[in-house]
Point group: none
Chain length 224, copies 2
């Protein structure tokens, strides 16, 4: 049973959501809050699985409330799904930084909304199409660099593939599993690519991958 905390300043919206959730066997209403302060307090008190969080609210807004809920140390924090009227670029960015697990539109058909809540409760992240498009654009237009010191171009496709995975700290066994090959094969490719690049250890290979721009650091926050 997934318990849901409903946060919205409009009574009608809360009522509607509550009715939908109560009509769904797998979901239950953990509580309702009409503003951010109450939401933070209730999240700590009732410990819901998912918080459906409106953005625009009097007093403490939904984003700030999300931050506070997720940084409240006691036990595993709930998943927070941001609920907005339309899509809003300005909120997406901060909401994601705040740690939101989803970004849903109030226009979303009920059935879909309920499915979304369950998906989010399960640990996945879910975003409305418009939001996702923005994410993808940001991903696609990422400052990529042509990664080609001459030596890199001497590598075969497989070798390059292995190098990328090595640079993500995978073990030979992991890489073998990922590529559906035997570990022996990975060793061969790794040995050959290290020879070509004049490297003596896996550690050097990882450093090489970063320094050559083959892989690019992307900032990470410790999310747990």
């Amino acid at each position: 049973m997934v318990s849901v905390l409903i946060v919205d300043d409009q009574m009608l919206v809360r009522t509607g959501l509550a009715a939908l959730i109560r009509a769904t066997p797998a979901l239950e209403v953990a509580g309702e809050a009409a503003d951010g302060e109450t939401a933070v307090a209730m999240a700590a008190a009732v410990r819901p699985d998912v918080v459906l969080m409106d953005v625009r609210m009097p007093g403490l807004d939904g984003i700030t409330a999300t931050e506070r809920i997720l940084s409240a140390g006691a036990g595993p924090p709930p998943k927070v799904a941001i609920l907005t009227t339309y899509d809003l670029d300005e909120y997406v960015y901060t909401a994601l930084r705040a740690g939101a697990s989803g970004f849903l539109l109030k226009e979303t058909p009920p059935q879909q909304l309920l499915a979304a809540v369950q998906v989010i409760a399960a640990g996945d992240m879910l975003f409305a199409p418009t939001v996702t498009r923005r994410l993808i654009e940001a991903y696609a237009t990422r400052p990529g660099r042509a990664a080609s010191p001459a030596a890199l171009s001497t590598l075969t496709g497989r070798e390059l593939q292995v190098l990328r995975l090595v640079a993500r700290a995978l073990s030979n066994a992991d890489i073998a599993a990922q590529l559906s090959l035997s570990e022996a094969t990975i060793k061969t490719h790794l040995h050959r690519l290290m020879s070509k690049l004049g490297l003596c250890s896996r550690a050097q290979a990882i450093v090489y991958a970063y320094e050559s721009g083959l892989v690019v650091p992307a900032s990470r926050d410790d999310g747990g």
Copy 2:
């Protein structure tokens, strides 16, 4: 009723998916394909709502097949959900460009997988957490890098020093020589810092050093 075309080169995977789908009232199996070519042909013939597409296949791979299916002009194209064994950085980018609506892992629990298919059929996009994290990182990594995730500040001076040298691909013996210590001491420091950071290998430590901004690839120095 959402019709699903199953594309995977492994018979067992197809069978498993088909069984799952047949057991779900809201879903039906539109067909099965074992390679990309067949998938493209069948997508055009049976016009499914959703295509569950494996990436690695003999002949035409899943990504290319996705492109072809989505660019086949006749009528509204189906949604394509990429199905992979683990998460794969290299595929995400091209899959998204190809127009995939989802990126799911074969490890995903059945119920969740079926929910995902329906979410995708409804027009939303859905990604496994690891994939989403990547997207968010790309989106959120604009105002410059956070040079020290909280975990880094828990390291002692020596540990930090060792981590920097590890991130330069030095062996334990090298680091010991550099710091005029015994190799045993380096092992201790390394062990402790890996514990603190939740890392399991030297390779992960190197990646962490780059991703956290502790060390920065040469030739890219932005003042942020």
